[in-house]
Each structure stands twice: as structure tokens, then as C-alpha cells.
Subunit: 349 residues, 2 copies
DNA sequence: TTGTAGGCGTTATCAT
DNA sequence: ATGATAACGCCTACAA
């Protein structure tokens, strides 16, 4: 059954190679290669002839062979914790656009927020020829850093920042940004704060954000130990569940739930709604990231605006100069600023 | 400046190779290769010794070299129109998961909804060693199809369906799905329909959906030519702008705006709000896709639920069997069903 | 079961 | 300006 239809498989014809082009153009493979890689080295006459053949037969250089021979690919690898929600989408898009400007191609992999898996992905991307890597955050086994060092792989950390000259970073200070938001929250009179965050053990951004909240709280003399911290992976569902737990189990209901990012905050919003709580009348909710979602939900989320696009762009520039030149680019700390919207209001009595 | 810090660059040490492993394990490269690719061919004793070395020095096979020698990569390429919003995210995720089960890796590229660019991406992915491709929709230059055929590249079209045995497809019938929704719309008494859709010239899914609406409309004797069709690329902003135009410029305001997908519909919702129109009291709005967003906005979107995950999974299975076996997989038409939610109500007077 | 050796498509170093 | 030719790292007949 379905014998006829399979016929196409029998006419398989593999891609044209440099040799094919060379033969058809009556030159050597070396010349064809030069036409493609350093056109100025070959006289216009032959060049045009060669390129005509290239177009005609639809020749495209074999990437693997090229990588093998040239030992570079102009490909940059990026390993992000998740592709499932929009958290990294905008930044990565900008990263890619800027890389394109510099003649690089992007290869993306996802680590599912698991450092061990990230290490595997690092190997995979390098095996695939990545010339350099973009990594998210600082937290990873020292074996991973050792590996990168041993191989001499240039890499840049983003979505976080430290002065640290050993590890290049282009990002923002998660602790300071979240602290700024928390300060606004306490200014609104909130004294009973709950935190819904991603698991902190393997996620330095989450950890820093929580630290920022605690810092602001202790600045105004709140009891740190009374602050309930609920950890759950980033997702709307999880945010709702965690918030639900926080709201229904506490003896003294918190007046504000500060979430580790907007995705969790949207979940928190949903939980509040399902409990019949009005936001921000009965309960305030805050997020982090300022992704598109933050302005779509109702009420709009008070959050921290992260300059995703700028960050992606600068990270690309850093990597590009790391690869092209000898002067090491500066670490960059971008500004993430608080955005007050409807979901934060005065503390309910 | 920054001389000291650059030192690490000088200790560059390239990746270990098969040769290294072979030498350290005291066997030939062939044996190492076998340990990795067909372990059962080598006796347990040597195998363990070899694998120990592999782990110890952190060997990872060079992908390009492997592709060059083996002429297959177990890599599947997917070219999707956009990564900017969630439209393809869920399906692609499932596609990837299922591919993983079958031992394949996914490589993604984006065509930005431009067929010419897609053709370039096809070449790129093949040059990078993709063994097969996943493409979205049927519309592309015949040159692209010719190219695929000439090269004998197995590929599957998804997000759309045709009986057509020449082109394998795993998807759903966009026209019929949207027609079903449109029938519900007219049942609600709507007679003045407006359509906000992605540009139809290069997008067969968009075209089919519009056709579905027109079909349902003419079934009940509505004047097709009176239906305003606004074309704009998928984005919330664009959806809002197009809807704004439709609502403010029409002499007779439509009672329902049917959008080509949920993203546009969310924009439409925003436009309605900014004009002070209550949804669905003053105006009904419908979407397509049933992405997460559809249930987050207020009011929730009436839309067509596309079985994204199932589609991704089945597409992966189809490609896998296309690659592994000789029997050609059946084309599959999945069901996309209408989901009634708050944004659709009886026609306003 | 294991080793030997040729070749995959490019780039880059020499010559010419 | 162009042409030979030796790598690049791996796979896979084929031989032993």
C-alpha cells in the first residue's frame, strides 16, 4: 500500500558540492572557496562566472565540512532556562538580531532550569560548532565553569550582573531591582508580605530577588522570619496554586503577594480572583520582568521593567567583540526600573 | 588596558577527539566509534574502558565531522513563521519532545512569514545537516517544492491539512474549523461581520480561515461583499489598530469582529475597550488557536481550539517513520473544535 | 571482536 | 590570480 507515492525517495540526489561548482565553472575548488569567502582575492571575471554557477545549481556550502576545515562557524550558542513562556523571548530576539548584524548565527538550546542539563547542552552546542556561548545567570556547577575555561570558550552571562571580572556579564542587578520594588510596596503600608518565587537553590536570579525583598523589609523593621516564601516553578498554574496556598493557609492573610516574575503574578491574580478577593482592594500583587502579559491582565501588573531588548543587544555586542578583537568588553549593568500599575495599592486593613 | 584578564584566551585547548580517546583507552578509533554508535558490537570489557575515558576527558563527538562521514545527523529542522508570540510554541514543544523519544534533535529557524526567506532557511537547515524538515502550511514558491524534491528531502507540512498525497501533512482543516466558528456566530444573530486577518497572499492558513467565514456567511444569505476584511500582521498592536479602523470607519458598525487568531483578537479586545465598547454587550470578538492568552484576557475569548500538542506529536511521528521505514505515513487531519467563551454573545441591536 | 584505511566537503598553506 | 594538496574528526566497509 502506498507504493507508488514513495517513488520520490528513489530519485534522491545529494547536494551539489564545491567540486561540482568548480568543475562546471572550469576552475579549482580553491578558487570557488575564495569566491565565497574572500571575493576580493579573485578577479572579477572568474568570480562572476563562479557565482553564476553557484546560483544556477543552488549550491550551499556544507556547514559541517566548513566547520571542520575552518575551525569556526560564526555561530553563537545560547542556553536559556525555558522556551515555554515569553520570559526570554524578547531578549533573545534582540540578541539574534544584533548577532545577525555582526554576521553571526544563533543556535538556541533550553536547559529546563536544570544546571546538570545545562552542562550537557554546553557540550552539545560546542560539538555543533558554537564559537561562543550566551548563558543565563551565574549559578552552575564549578565543573561547568572549569570545562568552559579548559576549552577556552568565550562566553557571556546575561539576565544577571556582578562586578566580577572573571565572568563577563551583561545584565542587571536582580537584588537591587527587586529591593526597589519592595521599597515601594512597604511605602504603600504593607506589613504582611508573602513571596511566591521560583526554586532558589539552582536559580541565582530568583535568590537575589528574594534577598532584595527581605532587605527592604528589614530596612523598615519588619520581621523577616514572618515572611512566608513559597517556591514553585514558573508557570501560571503554579503561581495560582502557590498563591492559593499562601492565602488560605495563613492565619494572618498577607496584604501583598510579591511574585518572582510576571508569569507567577498572573497566576496569583487568578488565585485571588477565584477566592473572591479584589486586587488591589483586598490584596496587592506584584511581578517582575514586565513581559507583554503584564499589561494584558486585569488589573495591570505592577512590576519591574527589565530592558530585555537592550540586554540582548548589548550581550550580542559583547560576544562579538570578544570574538573579533583582543580588548575585553566591559561588564554592563543595565537599569531595571519599577513600573507602578494597578495591581499594587495601599495595604488592606 | 585589561591585559591581565585576557590571559585565559592563551590557554585555549581544543576539544578531545576520537583519537585522544582511542589512545588513552588503548584501542583503535574504530572501536571507540563503535562504542558510541553501536555498543552491542563491542565486548563489555573494552566498552567500559572506553566509555570511562570518554567520561573522564569529557569527550563529545564533533557534530560536523560526524555528519560529514555518516551523511545523516538525526537532526530535524523546523521552519516556523515566527517565534515572537506563543502561536507555535506549544506545538513545537510537543514536536521536540516526541522527536527526542525517537532519538532526534530539533533545529528551529524562523521565516518571519516570508516565503522567500523560508526558502533560504530550507537551504540553511539542510546545509547544517537536517535529515528532514517540518514546514508550516502549504503556500510556498513552486521552486521551493522543486528544490525539496530534487534533493529528496523528506518533509512534513503541519498546521494545515490537505488530502493531497504529494505533500505529507499533519494538521487540521483551517477552512472547516473557522466555518464552524462562523456558523455559531451567525446563530447568535450576527449579520454585520468584520474580519481582521493576517495578510492572505502568502499565508494559506489565513486564506482558508477567511474562506470559512465567507462560506458560513453566504450559507445564511448574508452579503459577502459587505464584509469588511482588514489584513495586518499578527500582533496585539496590529490587531488593536485594525479593529480600531474597522469600528470607527464603518458607517454601520459591525456587531462582531472575527479575528484570524487569538493574538489579533486580544488586540481587538483592547481596541473595543479603548472605544468604550463593552464585550460582548456592544461587540462580539472571536479568535483562533486557543493559546494560553485566550483564557487570560477579560472577557475570555471564544475561539477555535487547535490541538497543538497532538499535532506536534503526530508530526514528529510522521517524520520519524518517514526516515526510519519505507512505509509512508498517512496524512492526518486532526479536529479543531470551537470553544465558546465570554467574548461572543448575541448580536447587539 | 577489533584494527586499517579511504573518504565525506571545506579551508588554508604552499607553490606556481 | 589561481591551482595542488594536506589537514579537519569521524564513520564504515573490509581485513584480520
Amino acid at each position: 500500500m502506498a507504493e507508488r507515492k514513495g517513488r520520490a525517495r528513489t530519485t534522491i540526489q545529494s547536494s551539489p558540492t564545491l567540486d561540482d561548482v568548480a568543475r562546471l565553472a572550469g576552475v579549482s575548488t580553491a578558487t570557488v572557496s575564495r569566491c565565497l569567502n574572500s571575493p576580493q582575492q579573485v578577479v572579477e571575471d572568474t568570480r562572476e562566472r563562479v557565482l553564476a554557477v553557484v546560483r544556477e545549481i543552488g549550491y550551499a556550502p556544507n556547514f559541517g565540512a566548513r566547520a571542520l576545515a575552518a575551525k569556526r562557524t560564526n555561530t553563537i550558542g545560547a542556553i536559556i532556562p525555558t522556551m515555554e513562556n515569553a520570559i526570554f523571548a524578547r531578549g533573545l530576539q534582540a540578541f539574534q538580531e544584533e548577532l545577525g548584524q555582526h554576521g553571526f548565527t544563533l543556535l538556541v538550546a533550553s536547559s529546563s532550569y536544570r544546571p546538570d542539563y545545562e552542562e550537557e547542552q554546553i557540550r552539545t552546542l560546542l560539538a555543533r560548532g558554537a564559537d561562543a556561548l550566551l548563558l543565563i545567570g551565574f549559578h552552575r556547577p564549578s565543573s561547568a565553569y572549569a570545562f568552559l575555561e579548559r576549552r577556552g570558550v568565550p562566553f557571556v552571562v546575561s539576565w544577571a550582573y556582578r562586578q566580577d571580572a572573571q565572568v563577563r556579564s551583561v545584565g542587571f542587578d536582580n537584588r537591587i531591582a527587586m529591593r526597589a520594588l519592595a521599597r515601594r510596596v512597604v511605602e504603600f503600608g504593607h506589613k504582611r508580605i508573602a513571596i511566591v518565587t521560583a526554586p532558589c537553590d539552582v536559580n541565582d536570579r530568583a535568590r537575589e530577588r528574594v534577598a532584595g525583598i527581605l532587605e527592604a523589609a528589614s530596612e523598615v523593621g519588619l520581621d523577616i522570619d514572618a515572611i512566608r516564601i513559597e517556591e514553585t516553578p514558573y508557570s501560571i498554574e503554579n503561581g495560582a496554586a502557590a498563591t492559593h496556598a499562601v492565602l488560605s493557609e495563613s492565619e494572618q492573610r498577607p496584604t501583598v503577594v510579591m511574585c518572582g516574575n510576571d508569569v507567577l503574578a498572573v497566576g496569583a491574580l487568578r488565585a485571588a480572583k477565584s477566592l473572591g478577593l479584589h486586587v488591589p482592594g483586598d490584596l496587592s500583587i506584584t511581578g517582575f520582568d514586565d513581559i507583554e502579559l503584564a499589561q494584558i491582565v486585569e488589573p495591570c501588573l505592577t512590576t519591574v521593567h527589565v530592558p530585555h531588548r537592550e540586554m540582548g543587544r548589548q550581550a550580542a555586542k559583547a560576544i562579538s567583540s570578544l570574538l573579533r578583537t583582543e580588548d575585553v568588553p566591559q561588564n554592563q549593568c543595565l537599569e531595571a526600573r519599577v513600573v507602578l500599575r494597578e495591581s499594587l495599592g495601599p495595604a488592606a486593613s
